[in-house]
């Protein structure tokens, strides 16, 4: 469930990074010296001090605002009251730059001090900025390692968190920086971003990391449900003995698991980058031939037998200058053996996650049941998407054009007037046309700053996992249980950013499932 506009913006940003976060202190107070930032702008205008921007309530967000295609320079933006702090943290020990003028600075990771990149930095104190809040722009070198490093560095600054879909624009709107006409497209943009994030999330939940997160979320939700049950019912009803002890054990296990995950950086990096292009179609349409043709290597086994490809085979390729993860899938058909059925299931799953789908049909066999079924169940819903709500892009390819009688005009083979490309993987006819069309689609997908780049996704993951871990360290059931529960609530909120869910209903359901409560 989506929480309010501004509420949503700040939901997860409560725990500012590692170190002793000021949330949930207990016992003796922890005094934290707020870093006073002395100079930022040489002009008498407002300085980018730690609390100088505090007039604007709300969290500070960051995002990669250039596209995720190959580019020489990547632009990373922040917006919110802690922008100044972020800039100071990354550019220390040098003086921060004057407002609204580009300066060259060495960016360092605020905690390790490790140099990240030499970048052009710009400081826009609010309200004269894109969003109306304090903003920072970092123009860094476009390599994935640099971008990833800077994003993670920003995530480690207290008060900063990755932006939600459309959040920059929404903030600009909220501060009166966009006219209503400019906002016309905002809903579509948020829709596209939400969709892109959803697909990105699906990809991850599919993998090992996703399964880990789901498992953690499940444990955490159960732990929270049991603490909540203990608060709401323990005195009036007889909850079983040892409820809190079990929660204690679960939280300890969870902390250990998160710790080892966060320590092992490699595991967090297992995100596949590049636009996801999935080749799909009925059996024996020539999907594997197409994949081999595009990747210029014999990746998939090709045979005239239907059902040759049974698993999803993926390969990173460079298409028209864009990084692409190309997936070959099993032909979609029903009623075959168990192994092939599993292949079909995986194929459908992969389709869900695709940025671009290449639907392949046998041009000489368009009326067969399997071709028709593919047209009805896969192609029709994709084509039916309204064009301005770009969810997934789709190209229909009619392969084996060499088998068509020479006399048949190309248009005749088109199923129900759908736009399509004719192709022969065997002769290579039509390949140029396909590459051109693919390039256009890839430009749209990769050059579009709206889609969530995997690098940012990685930073987001890191941020929420770390914040979840930090919140858990404040779970101390021995003292005030309401405070302890708050720590679990916060931890769960962070995790639910990665896994979805997170509502109260879920907790109540678990309570009533696990306990016999009531008078």
């Amino acid at each position: 469930m989506w929480r309010g506009l501004s509420a949503l913006a700040a939901r997860a940003a409560r725990v500012p990074g590692p170190g002793p976060p000021p949330t949930l202190p207990r016992g003796p107070p922890r005094l934290r010296a707020v870093p006073r930032l002395d100079v930022c702008s040489p002009t008498p205008r407002r300085r980018c001090g730690g609390d100088a921007g505090s007039r604007a309530p709300g969290s500070t967000i960051f995002a990669l605002s250039s596209g995720r295609g190959r580019c020489a320079v990547a632009v990373i933006r922040t917006s919110g009251p802690a922008s100044g702090l972020a800039l100071r943290s990354l550019t220390a020990p040098r003086e921060p730059p004057p407002a609204r003028s580009a300066s060259l600075r060495l960016l360092r990771h605020p905690r390790s001090g490790e140099p990240l990149d030499r970048a052009l930095v710009l400081w826009f104190p609010g309200p004269r900025s894109f969003t109306g809040e304090d903003c920072v722009e970092l123009h860094v070198h476009g390599g994935p390692a640099v971008v990833s490093g800077v994003l993670q560095a920003l995530g480690s600054v207290p008060g900063l968190r990755p932006a939600e879909a459309g959040e920059f624009t929404r903030r600009a709107f909220a501060h009166g920086k966009l006219s209503l006409t400019e906002v016309e497209g905002l809903a579509d943009l948020i829709h596209a971003e939400t969709e892109a994030q959803r697909r990105q999330a699906l990809r991850q939940l599919d993998g090992e990391l996703g399964q880990l997160c789901q498992g953690w979320a499940k444990t955490l939700t159960k732990a929270l449900a049991h603490v909540e049950a203990y608060i709401d019912f323990a005195e009036d009803d007889n909850l079983e003995e040892g409820v809190l002890e079990q929660v204690d054990r679960d939280v300890r296990t969870l902390k250990a698991a998160l710790d080892s995950h966060l320590r092992d950086a490699r595991r967090g990096e297992r995100l596949r980058s590049g636009a996801h292009v999935v080749v799909a179609g009925p059996p024996n349409a020539g999907k594997s031939s197409l994949v081999n043709l595009l990747s210029r290597k014999p990746l998939s086994i090709v045979s005239p037998e239907p059902g040759t490809t049974r698993d999803v085979l993926e390969t990173p390729v460079d298409l028209a200058g864009f990084p692409v993860l190309l997936s070959d899938t099993a032909g979609l058909r029903e009623g075959v053996g168990a192994v092939e059925q599993e292949g079909v299931r995986r194929a459908r799953q992969r389709l869900e996650q695709a940025d671009i789908i290449l639907g392949v049909l046998d041009a000489s066999d368009l009326t067969s049941p399997s071709s028709r079924s593919f047209l009805d169940t896969v192609v029709a819903p994709l084509v039916a998407q309204s064009p301005n709500r770009v969810a997934q892009r789709f190209l229909l390819l009619l392969n084996k054009s060499d088998l068509l009688p020479a006399s048949t005009p190309a248009g005749d083979s088109a199923p129900a007037g759908l736009p399509h490309l004719l192709l022969s993987c065997r002769t290579g006819a039509g390949l140029d046309g396909l590459l051109q069309a693919l390039k256009a689609e890839l430009t749209a997908v990769c050059g579009d700053p709206r889609t969530d780049p995997p690098l940012l996704t990685r930073a987001r993951h890191q941020h929420h996992l770390q914040s979840c871990r930090d919140a858990l360290s404040h779970y101390q059931p021995s003292a005030d249980l309401a405070l302890a529960a708050e720590a679990l609530r916060l931890a769960r909120r962070h995790l639910s950013h990665l896994t979805g869910g997170g509502g109260t209903a879920e907790v109540l359901d678990l309570i009533f499932q696990d306990f016999c409560v009531g008078k």
């Binding site: 459309g166 909540e228 608060i231 709401d232 016999c516």
Partner: protein
């Protein structure tokens, strides 16, 4: 049951009390065709609070009830409060409602639950003497200025053309009693389980809202004809046992708190000393109880029904079915100082009466127990609460308000909370003032009403602290500072005495906290003054008294012995001393929650136009699914809209854009007019 044929007969007369009738306008002296500002139908926990609140706001109010002698009746459990529910009572009290003060005059066993779990989740609770509560409540209601009480059964509503500029297809103008009409500017319906109420024992079913009372059928039909969406729920109550037939000597005894903590901010103490209070006893079910339940399921139509019952207050049958082979608690609760009855909490049952007796006698301590009245189930209609705005006014009928169990809630406290809000808003509506809405960030009442009006409910809704996002801020101790000032300013429903007390407390707390912050000593100095304090002496920065107060083992008394000047004066008022300690404990966390609260409030401040027709409006691009959801719930703010499941971020932005455009257009029109 008796209906009063001579309409307008003042029930007060039968009780020998004088009603402040002289305060009413001359037209109300004529009983038939009388006119009131607010008419409240139903004298239960929602109805009494609603009527009293409307009167406090200055509306001439009439409370209509089947029988005056059932006003203030506790028809189910003989207790008030509990975890979450105690919070609601504190908030009702902060709005100057009745139930907390009445409970402080009628309790017989006061006990705060969750004592060891942190003050944010303390649950004020008490066993209440049914007879005393009823007496005290009737005394209060019958002596409330501007409030009149009359017996009668409402058959129908008087409806007219809608007022322009407000949503709704018609407007309520009054109510039709048996043969007469009473006119009203606002009407509040608080009929509880009486809408097509059906009592069930074993396989027997007969129409009744509560044992011995007739259900309201005509009214149910009227509401259905108007197009209200009606659902069905069920609940139940345990049998009552004869006190002298129970062998308490072999059971666990629970004694009340000493000292008793009162419910009301206005009560320094409760009416009864701890040593004069009555104990409760605990016993348990056993496998034999399970057997009897399982062997006789075929004789139990209530359990077989598909109607949704509560998951947390289940009958013994559903406990046995859902959690077999377990022992369940049964609390034996007193019903009053001079009552011969015991209420076995946890034993709600709808078996045929003779089987109930059989089941009871196989429980430890109850071997010879005599059943005075069997347990029974109630099935009843409720109105989908999404048909109301957060002021509890219905979308369909202008100036018609619903409160209490009719909205799908369960519990006295939930009913009382809605009653106060409905009463205040019915009155504000008459005087044309904006509605009084408590937000989720301000109180449990806000969470309750927001949940109901935006999400609806499919089972009887009960308050839990786990439903509350800002649980650490919305505590029982600070309900007055959260609500009393707003209620004073925006609704005018708070007595001067309460307002003064709340103001004094607020300024004393603020002063106390700033004094505590200003006292700074080194950690070693603190350690010397208060040896038991757990502060690391290695800390280099000075530590404030507020920080020391945060330690679990330190309270204001201890701190004041260490630093008598200037802290001594903050220990004289016990409540102030306790509250300073609580404020200190949560201070740092709350600073962070405050930001989140502000953000939620920003969204709550973005009002959606009231008369928006989501199904047809063309200026906003919304999917059909989202349109239907918005149409059903009619959220009042962008914040509420975003909480409706299925309303997408894109839809919210489109709504936001629409709101801003409308505002701009209105501003332009205003400017044009002033030029």
């Amino acid at each position: 049951m008796f209906l009063l044929r001579d309409c307008g007969r003042r029930a007060a007369a039968s009780l020998g009390r004088r009603l402040p009738l002289r305060r009413l306008g001359s037209d109300s002296a004529a009983p038939c065709g009388a006119r009131f500002d607010v008419v409240v139908i139903g004298g239960g926990h929602a109805g009494t609070e609603a009527a009293a609140a409307a009167a406090r706001c200055g509306s001439r109010t009439l409370l209509l009830t089947h029988r005056v002698d059932t006003i203030g009746q506790m028809s189910c459990n003989p207790s008030f409060g509990g975890i979450g529910k105690g919070h609601l009572m504190r908030e009702v009290d902060a709005l100057d409602g009745l139930c907390s003060r009445i409970c402080d005059q009628s309790g017989i066993h006061y006990k705060v639950l969750n004592r060891r779990k942190g003050p944010a989740v303390w649950g004020l609770r008490a066993q209440i003497d049914r007879k005393l509560y009823k007496q005290n409540m009737q005394k209060e209601v019958l002596n409330t200025p501007l409030l009149m009480v009359q017996e009668g059964a409402v058959e129908d509503l008087v409806l007219t053309e809608p007022e322009p500029g407000y949503p709704g297809k018609c407007r309520v103008r009054g109510v039709v009693l048996d043969g007469s009409t009473i006119y009203a500017e606002s009407v509040i319906l608080t009929t509880g389980t009486f809408l097509r109420g059906m009592m069930v024992i074993g396989l027997e079913m007969h129409p009744a809202g509560r044992l011995g009372d007739q259900p309201a059928i005509g009214l149910a039909q009227t509401l259905e004809k108007l197009g209200f969406v009606v659902g069905r729920l069920k609940t139940g109550t345990p049998p009552r046992l004869a006190k002298e037939s129970i062998n308490f000597s072999i059971l666990n005894k629970q004694t009340p708190d000493n000292p008793s903590i009162p419910f009301s901010f206005l009560s320094e103490t409760v009416w009864i000393k701890p040593e004069d209070q009555l104990p409760c006893y605990l016993t348990h079910t056993n496998p034999r109880v399970d057997e009897i339940v399982l062997e006789n399921l075929h004789l139990n139509s209530h359990v077989k029904e598909t109607t949704r019952g509560p998951r947390y207050c289940p009958s013994i049958e559903s406990k046995v079915l859902r959690f077999p082979n377990r022992v369940h608690q049964v609390w034996l609760e007193p019903e009053g100082t001079d009552s011969d009855l015991i209420y076995p909490q946890g034993l709600s049952v709808t078996l045929p009466a003779e089987l109930q007796e059989k089941m009871i006698t196989c429980i430890r301590g109850l071997e010879k127990a005599k059943m005075v009245q069997p347990g029974y189930g109630v099935q009843y209609d409720y109105l989908d609460p999404r048909q109301m705005s957060p002021s509890l006014e219905t979308h369909l009928v202008q100036r018609l308000f619903f409160a209490g169990q009719i909205n799908g809630t369960t519990g006295y406290e939930e009913a009382a909370a809605q009653g106060v809000i409905a009463g205040i808003n019915a009155s504000l509506r008459v005087s044309g003032k904006p509605p009084f809405v408590v937000s989720r960030t301000e109180g449990y009442i806000g969470v309750l009403i927001d949940d109901l009006t935006t999400l609806g409910t499919s089972e009887p809704y009960r308050m839990f602290t786990s439903r509350v996002e800002f649980r650490l801020s919305l505590r029982p101790d600070n309900a007055d500072s959260r609500l009393t000032f707003r209620a004073h300013k925006d609704a005018g429903c708070v007595s001067p005495q309460r307002y003064e007390r709340a103001s004094w407390m607020k300024s004393s707390l603020e002063e106390g906290i700033s004094v505590l912050k200003s006292i700074e000593l080194s950690s070693s100095k603190w350690k010397k003054l208060i040896p038991q304090v757990s502060i690391s002496v290695n800390r280099s920065l000075p530590v404030s008294a507020l920080d020391v107060l945060k330690c679990e083992e330190v309270d204001m008394d201890l701190l004041a012995t260490a630093v008598p000047e200037p802290l001594q004066k903050y220990t004289a008022d016990r409540e102030l001393a306790r509250r300073l300690k609580i404020e200190a404990a949560y201070e740092s966390v709350l600073m962070f929650q405050l930001q989140e609260i502000k953000e939620v409030q920003q969204d709550e401040a973005l009002q959606l136009p009231q008369d928006l027709d989501y199904l047809t409006i063309r200026d906003v691009s919304l999917s059909q699914e989202v349109r239907e959801k918005l149409h059903l719930s009619r959220p009042q703010t962008i914040g509420a809209a975003s909480r409706i499941p299925g309303v997408t971020p894109a839809a919210i932005v489109n709504l936001l854009r629409f709101v801003k455009t409308t505002q701009q257009r209105q501003a332009a029109v205003m400017e044009h007019q002033t030029n």
